[in-house]
């Protein structure tokens, strides 16, 4: 087993899905959190100026949160049993990432005059992505289990992590998507995830 270090800021943000996969797999890793005051100096030491980064055995450092998540999901058995299942998992995750990314762009915008356009884009993405995900979930056993097959996969965890901020901000966010709301409750109640959520750093984003 290689050693893993995950570098990110002290927040859930783009790294939380990676941390959830580590938790679900019960794999030890170094959860290295960079303070904003350290970031400028840290950047110059890294091969790429992006976070999160996953370091494997101190010699391989690779950025991009979703690439990291897919690597961990394949490594620890959360990416589907065959190529078509992996394809469906990826499509769900990429759709959730679109929504998450639009939310983060809106959240991080400091100029109030620019917020309405970003809000519109985010809402358009919600209206496009959420009905697709609700239907996809419903197609597997009426939507009472997981997105694909019989066990929690990467896409189920992404449904929790990717929608965490929208749901915190607006508890009615999923009121028209009861199957997705139910899935998020099942992910949160998964023994390894429940234990992780209980002990994780309590951060604002």
């Amino acid at each position: 087993m290689p050693s893993y270090t995950l570098y990110y800021f002290n927040g859930r943000g783009r790294a939380e899905i990676c941390r959830m996969i580590f938790a679900a797999a019960a794999i030890q890793y170094n959860d290295k959190r960079i303070e904003l005051s350290e970031w400028t100096q840290f950047k110059t030491k890294m091969p790429c100026h992006m976070l999160p980064i996953l370091e494997i055995d101190t010699d391989t450092q690779v950025p991009q949160s979703m690439a990291i998540s897919r690597y961990l999901a394949r490594e620890f058995g959360f990416h589907g049993k065959n190529n078509v299942d992996m394809f469906k998992v990826d499509s769900i995750c990429d759709s959730l990432f679109e929504l998450f990314n639009d939310y983060m762009t809106l959240f991080n915008e400091k100029d109030a005059a620019k917020k309405p356009d970003l809000q519109k884009r985010y809402m358009d993405t919600c209206r496009r992505v959420l009905p697709y995900l609700e239907k996809t979930l419903e197609a597997n056993k009426g939507g009472s289990g997981w997105f694909i097959g019989d066990q929690m996969l990467f896409c189920d965890m992404m449904c929790y992590a990717g929608l965490e901020n929208p749901v915190q901000e607006n508890p009615n966010f999923l009121k028209d998507y009861p199957k997705l709301a139910g899935l998020r409750n099942r992910v949160a109640a998964h023994p390894k995830i429940a234990s992780y959520i209980k002990k994780r750093n309590n951060t604002a984003f």
Copy 2:
């Protein structure tokens, strides 16, 4: 071998990387191009209101261009030999997709007043992503071959497809990144890709 139909508009856009992988693998597929006038009606027939969509054997329809590309890359041997290689391929592709996505958002914006902000975001992404990719390429045999190992993979094709519009618009786009410029020439000269580029629809985007 299943039958494949790729649905997209009549343009390169988000589907071109999928078409390039089909071409490199010499796999037949139905390249179904939806006219803008057909789009409203077409949308209602599809399980999700997004393009591109890959249909497998008429019963499985899955959206998200990069999820489709990764599925095809795994299926036809363009996604790396092991999980760490797949991770590196994905990281490169996701970085290129960020840049491509910012370019497309800028390109599609009709309101001139909104262009400067989008232009800035796009340029920031270029300054963050391109040096990382140039260094990553250089780390493999001095940058004279492919990103990873000894053969053309998904990430090499994405370096061609994802940068096609920026390079068409500005022939000096890669002047500070000679290794990436060289890689794009090698992709274009790959026999299967060269033959595909020669015969493909000549569209504006």
